[in-house]
């Protein structure tokens, strides 16, 4: 091909080349000319230099928060890549009065753990950053009162004092279709219960884990108080207790009529003010009648009734070994609920974008809806990618989609470019909390989509990391937000996932979507 040295023409060709618009033969011609024509080399070089300058200048002028004016790369991408960490509150929560010391101790502890986890120098977070991040995360976890949106809490910046010095003795793990008649705070999944806390379950089921290990399934209507780490009081209603750990042996339930002491077992109690029925499913229990010395030991399959007998002023225990069919059924386990969730907000857990936790799906998102302004956060709709038709119910008042199946959620994450939430608050939203309904011991995969304010992360591979409770297997970045994938096994205390950043350098990534699902096989998260 004849090569033109006409300047404007050559310049036009170079522009086409650098824009990827040149035809193959044009490129070939240029390549040939470059190999042996010194003048073309000159012009080419000068052109490249000016393009590099222009790119740098354009960039410099727009220097945004994360990027120092003139930076041509995103340092944060590799200096401090995000790390998915599952944080949990240890069962014996320190009282807020001793919070200061407790937090410091815990921070040190977590820091030590984190340092242990992230051996690779790149992922090795500095102690200061860890302290900052961890403090913040802990604050989130401890203060979170559940019924108020986190964002509102944080903005008012006055963490409310909870009834201070009373220690917690148990935790409300999860509920199914529960409604409450509690006068003070509405209980919520994951809530820690202080000593003498009374739960008034109107309907539905609630699973309560005592700190010493006993697990109680409460069936509404019921009134139940947690009295110490290994015991409670059932005023009315039904419960089933699972006592499996040695520490929990001796677990004790009081009723108005009886004291039931576990000897390593599973048992049910059905109680009203006049009569308490006890049924043993496994192992054995000791039943004492209140106000008398009468007691019996019941073994698996046996039942007993404790009540005043007509003839006396004392309560008596009546064995009913073949109670079988006559007895009301006990709910011995909560129905399994596969926790699958997808949430997509500029700022998670604000009031209108609260996670809707119903049935098997959890969804809250703004899918191409109008811009939303909430709590000072200007939230842009996220759908900047190709529109994706998802046969689900779009609730325009909530800007949310409900009723996605796991497969649809997957598809959504795969195909929709989540846009940035334009987050005017200075606190990066990088925690996913309120993980409720987790099955203890179950393995989960959590994916989080993170967008920064600029939302142009470029391709980068973060590599791998691991720890005893989670394994970070893959982080993908394409055009669009960062996708973090983590895996963890749920503990009794697991309630939040925290994506760790390096706050020192104003790394303003924010969780704009997340999805949680049960890990099906170890192969689902192959590293790149």
């Amino acid at each position: 091909m004849e090569f033109s040295l006409d300047m404007p023409e050559l310049h036009a060709l170079l522009l086409r080349v650098i824009d990827g618009q040149a035809a193959d033969e044009e490129i070939a011609g240029l390549r040939e000319a470059l190999a042996d024509n010194e003048q073309v080399q000159w012009i080419y070089l000068e052109f490249i230099a000016s393009e590099a300058s222009l790119a740098a200048q354009v960039r410099a002028k727009r220097g945004d928060q994360r990027t120092q004016a003139g930076d041509l790369v995103d340092f944060e991408k590799f200096l401090n890549p995000p790390v998915v960490e599952v944080l949990a509150i240890p069962p014996s929560e320190p009282s807020p009065r001793g919070l200061g010391r407790g937090v410091v101790a815990k921070v040190a502890n977590l820091t030590a753990r984190a340092i242990h986890w992230h051996l690779h120098p790149i992922r090795f977070l500095t102690v200061i950053a860890m302290l900052t991040v961890t403090m913040w995360a802990l604050w989130l976890l401890i203060i979170q009162p559940g019924e108020r949106p986190l964002a509102a809490e944080r903005q008012s910046s006055s963490p409310r004092a909870v009834d201070s010095h009373v220690p917690t003795v148990a935790r409300l793990i999860r509920t199914v279709r529960a409604t409450w008649e509690d006068r003070d705070r509405q209980p919520f999944d994951g809530m820690y219960l202080r000593r003498e806390r009374t739960l008034q379950l109107a309907t539905g089921l609630a699973e309560i884990q005592f700190h010493d290990g006993a697990l109680v399934i409460l069936e509404g209507p019921a009134e139940f108080s947690v009295t110490d780490p290994n015991g409670g009081h059932l005023e009315t209603g039904k419960l089933v207790a699972h006592v499996k750990t040695p520490k929990a042996h001796g677990f004790q339930i009081e009723t108005p009529n009886a004291t039931v002491i576990d000897l390593g077992t599973e048992f049910g109690i059905d109680s009203d003010r006049h009569t308490s029925r006890v049924r043993v499913f496994n192992g054995q229990v000791n039943v004492n009648a209140r106000g008398s010395h009468e007691q019996v030991v019941l073994v698996a399959g046996e039942s007993a009734r404790v009540a005043f007998s007509d003839a006396s002023s004392k309560r008596h225990i009546v064995r009913s070994p073949s109670a079988g069919n006559a007895e009301r059924q006990f709910v011995r386990n909560l129905p399994e609920r596969p926790p699958v969730g997808i949430a997509w907000t500029a700022e998670p857990f604000t009031s209108t974008h609260q996670i809707i936790n119903e049935g098997s799906q959890v969804v809250a998102m703004n899918l191409g809806g109008p811009q939303v302004m909430m709590n000072g956060v200007h939230f842009m709709p996220g759908n900047f990618g190709q529109p994706l038709h998802i046969p689900a119910c779009y609730d325009s008042s909530l800007h949310s989609i409900v009723g996605l199946t796991a497969a649809q959620a997957d598809e959504l994450l795969d195909h929709v470019n989540f846009g940035p939430g334009v987050n005017n608050s200075l606190i990066p939203q990088n925690s996913i909390s309120g993980l409720s309904g987790l099955a203890i011991g179950e393995s989960y995969v959590i994916q989080a989509l993170l967008s920064d304010q600029r939302s142009s992360p470029r391709y980068y591979d973060f590599g791998h990391g691991s720890s005893e409770i989670y394994t970070l297997r893959k982080i993908d970045i394409g055009r669009g937000p960062v996708l973090c994938t983590g895996r963890f096994t749920a503990h009794a205390a697991t309630q939040a996932v925290h994506i760790q950043f390096h706050l020192i350098r104003q790394f303003n990534y924010t969780v704009s979507a997340w999805q949680l699902r049960v890990a099906t096989s170890p192969e689902t998260l192959e590293g790149r």
Partner: protein, 177 residues
Amino acid sequence: MDNIDRQDEFMQQFRQCQRDLLAYILAIVPRHADAQDILQETAAALWQKFDQYDPARSFAGWAQRFAHIEICKHRDRGRYRRWMLNPFDEQLLEALAAKVHRNVSVVELRDEALLMCMKQLTAAEYDLLHQYYWGEQSVQELATEIGLSERQLYRRLHTVRQALKRCIDQRIAEVGA
């Protein structure tokens, strides 16, 4: 905070040579999106091996070798099939480098001129350039957003850059005169 110091040191070093690196990459892979990816990957690789950097040697030279590796990797991934310049043709590259270095003052002059000329851009023109060079959208998406065809978008970009070039040439001529 040892690690923070290291990071600062790294960023400082990198900032000093980043534009030359971009130019080097662009010369071999003359496409902005690819070149920026390669530059990003180069920076990441440099940081990973920063422990091995010998401060007695030139950081720019060290970095350029990494860029070279990333350029090769980039082609292996099939993203940019054929180089414009052969990065293994050392003679050619050296000749080019020499030319670039000999013209440092010219480069500075051009930069100054460029800054002045950019002030003459309208906000829309400036935005267009910014989105084109550093935006996250593809050219196609950008065109759709602005309401142009791809071809029209390129033509507009072309016009802006031609105008800038004319402006720069003119300024340099004035200074030189």
